[in-house]
């Protein structure tokens, strides 16, 4: 009886040691996982993803610089400039179906004319009032705000919808952290419709 009790105590001691070791190992990780650091990591990861996924290619207006056209980072990710007046897009000819404006923010094709969205955290014209859920639902469903009209080409929803939840959360955290730009992007236009002067 006594032996079995000691045996049981040794098992418990081992179990207790294991638990304490696990706790000791877990504690530094938990301490490191403070909200600030975690948020910084998330924003950093989001910046990386936004950069390499080419978001600036269409959502930041391009302008002509000394080495050719380049994104105007003073208007980073603010979408098609509302002040940019466009004439009607050229009619498609043969295999040339799609046209893009010099800013790379307005695209004409069989779907009509689409204008890239303001992804900055401006409350009235950007993502300022969006929740993470709104953003994730948008990318997953391909619908504006996750519930509205379909998002139009050339937004690569068919590819981006496969991003992980963690990556989408990081992208959203980064977009919420960048400077807000007030820029009300026009509604898309139907096919074969002249672009209204803004």
């Amino acid at each position: 009886m006594t032996a079995s009790v000691f045996k049981a105590r040794r098992h418990l001691a081992s179990l207790g040691a294991a638990v304490l070791t696990t706790a000791a190992l877990a504690l530094p990780a938990a301490a490191a996982d403070t909200p600030t650091t975690s948020q910084d990591d998330k924003v950093g990861r989001g910046k990386y993803l936004v950069t390499i996924a080419g978001c600036n290619d269409c959502h930041t207006p391009w302008k002509m610089g000394p080495t050719g056209p380049a994104p105007d980072m003073s208007r980073m990710l603010s979408g098609h400039p509302e002040s940019f007046q466009l004439p009607p897009a050229p009619a498609p000819q043969g295999p040339w179906l799609v046209s893009a404006a010099a800013t790379n923010t307005a695209w004409s094709g069989p779907w009509g004319v689409s204008f890239t969205a303001n992804l900055t955290p401006d409350a009235e014209t950007g993502l300022g009032k969006w929740t993470l859920r709104n953003f994730v639902d948008t990318i997953r469903s391909g619908r504006h705000m996750g519930r509205g009209r379909q998002i139009l080409p050339p937004m690569p929803i068919p590819m981006y919808k496969h991003m992980t939840d963690e990556d989408l959360e990081a992208v959203f955290a980064y977009l919420k952290s960048i400077p807000a730009v007030s820029n009300r992007v026009p509604e898309p236009l139907p096919a074969a419709s002249p672009v209204a002067a803004k």
Partner: protein
Amino acid sequence: MDSHWYQPAWKALLTAVLTAIGLISAAYAPAQSAKPVPERLRDTGLFAPGSTTEIASDVLAFSPQYPLWSDGATKRRWIALPPGTFIDGAKADAWEFPRGTRLWKEFSVGRRIETRFIERLQDGSWRFVSYVWNDAGTDATLAAADGTVLRLGGERRYAIPSRTDCLACHEGAAVPVLGFSALQLSADRDPLAPHAEASSGTDLRALVARGWLRNLPSALFERPPRIAAATPVERAALGYLHGNCGHCHGKPDETGASVPVGVLLAQSVVEPNSSADVLRSLGRASRFRTPGVKHAPQAVVPGSAQTSVLPLRMRSRDPRVQMPPLGTDIADSEALALIERWIDHSLPSTKERKQ
């Protein structure tokens, strides 16, 4: 004394450790996969054995007082709960449905064409699928997950929604069951509701009596919920907006799923200022702009349906403009007439009343 190791303190520690191990194991265990979706509607439990017309005895028909517009399709709806379970109505605007809840909605356009099926799985998630009836109307089989379009003759088409589109509407609300709620099943039904259907008898009292609904706030049991409105037309207009738009245009909640445009169209059966909140949100500037127009129009301009964004978007079937954005190819002329009558004639009186 030999047995001191299992004294209460040790026992508590042991229990805690085992519980922790259990929790950790559960957290890392692969999720139990749900049963596969039946390939045929007849295998979902809607019908009596061997039939595709006789409804099973444990399935209950219901009809919401403010039905969703579906291009004029006629609809029938049913719900079934697992034996011994009930709906928790404590949160009167967001009922908690038991795991295993099943709901069906049948669409007919001259004949039965589609039956949608929602099921709450054992892990608490919801599954949305659709079944398409054959031309003879004798059998319905599982539709493709990415949806399809059926031709009804002439230019008329009928869209079977994709599962993603099911979620677009159903997951916008706090609870993805949209037509089975305290307001929709109130016995105080709105006689002016567009496309109103006869009551199936499934109202709040009937559900409580059947044992399917518990914890409903007693005030709702004693006095069936009703939308507060200045006129009967306004009541019907707000009810239509609740039933057709409120699932996306709801009050921001912990799910964060409602669209962030500041338009509130969902009614609450417990908040006394619910209608006032809706009216206030409709008076704000709309985010929507028609091409070439720079000023911000209001969603609703009292006395002027013509300059209000709400009827403009209800009337449009341009996919970039239309509201609702999916589930309909034909504007709802009856509802449009109601909304325009309300904006032109009923809202000014509301404004005057407040002065």
